[in-house]
Symmetry: C2
Subunit: 231 residues, 2 copies
DNA sequence: CTCCTACGTTGATATTTGTCAATCAAAATA
DNA sequence: TATTTTGATTGACAAATATCAACGTAGGAG
C-alpha cells in the first residue's frame, strides 16, 4: 500500500467516478484537492467490515471485490468492482461502519474521499442525489436476484451464472483471464472450492467452455444461459 | 379488496408512516387528501412483481409479506411488514416496476400513495430524504445478513433465526400466534415445507420452544440464539 | 537451487436437504 | 350432513453438496 499525493487531476482521469460529472464547478475543485489516491497489492484489504466508515472509495485501476465475512471464516463475494466504480457502503447513513469488506483482487489503485465531504456533495447537488439513490436501488435489485440465484439454483446454474457475469460484466470478453481464484469463484457462488472445480470441469467436458489454468473462454453462451436459467 | 374513500385522516391515524412527520404542513394536507385506503383479505396480492410501480404503500393494519417470485413458482420471503411501515420498492428510481410482490398474510389495510407525489415529497423535504436514504441503506444491510443466513447456515440455524425474528421483530412476544403458514416459514428460510416442519419438531423436542398448532412459545431464547449463531 | 507455501485437482465418503407418497385434521363448501 | 379442499405431518428414499485426505504444481523466500 502506497499513498500517491501527486495523483492525477480528476478532470483528466479516465477512471473518475460519475459523481465528478454531477456536481458544480466549485465542488469539482474541492473534490479534486481532497481525494487521496492509494495503491494496493493483490490480496490486500482496502477496508474492513466492522471498521469505521471514514471514506468512500473510487477504484481507478485494477479489480476489487466486495465481500461479506460470514461464519467460520467463510466469505460471501457480493460483487466485483471495476475502475471508475464508486464503493460507498450502506453504513454511511446508518451507523458509520462498514458492513462489508473491500479487497484488492488484482493490484489496485483507489481514491479515498472523505465521508463528510461526500455527504455534503450528495446533499448539495441534486443530480448527484438522484443518481446515488438510483444506484443504491439498482444494487438492491441485484441483491434480490443474487439471493434467488444462491438459494434456488443448484451448483451448475450458479457457476454458469457466475461465468456469464464475469464475461459480460467484468472482463467484457468471451475469452478472459480469470484473475479471481477458484476459492473466490466459490465465494461468489456460495459453494465449496472443490465443488466449484468439479462443476467447472463438467462445463468444460460438456463443451460449453474451455478452461486452461485461469484462461476461460465461453464457447456456447446460449447453452450456458440455459443452464443458468434452468437452475 | 375494498376501497375506503372515507378513511381516517393521517393526523389521527395511529399507523401512519414516518413520512407524515417529516414533511411540511402543506404537504401533510396534500398527502392526507391524496392517499387511498384499501383493505385486502388474507392471501390477496397487494402488488405484484413485474407490474408497473404506480404507488407506494403504507400498511395500516394486519400483516403483509414482501416476497420475491423465483424459479419454478418458488417464493423467497424477504420480510414481513407491520402497520405503519412504508413499502416503496427499489424500482422507484430505476425502471418504474415492482421487483418484488407484496401480499396480505392476515387481513390487511394499506394506504396507497401516488408515486409521483411520493417522489415530490422526498425531494421537497430534506429530513424525509435523509430518512428514506437511511432506511434504504438499513434494508440493504439486512439483506447482506439474510444472504449469509441463507447461504452459510444450515437448516436448524435458519429456523432458529426465523423464530427469533418473528418473536422479536414481528409479533413482539415470546409467545405468539404464528399467522404465517409453514409454507411461508419455509419461504422465509429458503427450505422445503417438509424440512421446516421437521426442524420445528426437533426444536420442540429439544425443549427450546413449544408449538401447538400455530401457537409458538420460545422457552429458551438463549439456546435458540446459540443454534442460530452456530449455524 | 531447494524448500516451503498456496493454490488447484481428484477420489472417496459422509452429511444435508429435497422429493415423493401417504395420511390426518381442520376448514370451507355444497 | 356429506364432501371437498387445504394445510400439516411423517416416513422412505434419492439427490445435492460438503468434507476429508491425498497429491501435484508453480511461484516466492531463503
Amino acid at each position: 500500500m502506497a499513498i500517491h499525493t501527486n495523483s492525477e487531476r480528476c478532470e483528466n482521469c479516465r477512471s473518475r467516478s460519475f459523481i465528478f460529472d454531477l456536481i458544480s464547478e466549485q465542488d469539482r475543485e474541492i473534490l479534486d484537492k481532497a481525494k487521496q489516491e492509494v495503491s494496493f497489492n493483490a490480496g490486500e484489504i482496502i477496508f474492513k467490515q466492522g471498521a469505521m466508515l471514514t471514506h468512500v472509495v473510487c477504484v481507478t485501476s485494477g479489480l476489487a471485490k466486495i465481500y461479506f465475512e460470514g461464519l467460520d471464516k467463510k466469505n460471501l463475494l457480493l460483487r466485483l468492482v471495476k475502475p471508475s466504480e464508486l464503493v460507498g457502503g450502506p453504513g454511511m447513513f446508518v451507523d458509520q461502519r462498514h458492513h462489508y469488506s473491500l479487497g484488492a483482487v488484482e493490484d489496485t489503485r483507489v481514491c479515498f474521499i472523505d465521508i463528510g465531504l461526500y455527504r455534503e456533495l450528495v446533499f448539495r447537488n441534486k443530480p448527484l442525489a438522484h443518481e446515488v439513490m438510483a444506484r443504491e436501488s439498482y444494487h438492491r435489485i441485484e441483491m434480490y436476484e443474487k439471493l434467488v440465484n444462491l438459494t434456488q439454483k443448484q451448483m451448475p446454474g450458479r457457476v454458469a451464472e457466475a461465468l456469464i457475469y464475469l464475461s459480460t460484466q467484468i472482463y467484457e470478453s468471451a475469452k478472459f483471464q480469470c484473475t479471481i481464484s477458484r476459492q473466490e469463484l466459490a465465494d461468489l457462488t456460495a459453494m465449496s472450492k472443490e465443488s466449484t472445480i468439479r462443476i467447472l470441469k463438467d462445463l468444460k467436458e460438456s463443451g460449453l467452455v474451455t478452461i486452461e489454468g485461469n484462461i476461460v473462454e465461453i464457447v456456447d453462451m446460449k447453452g450456458l444461459e440455459d443452464i443458468s436459467q434452468r437452475g
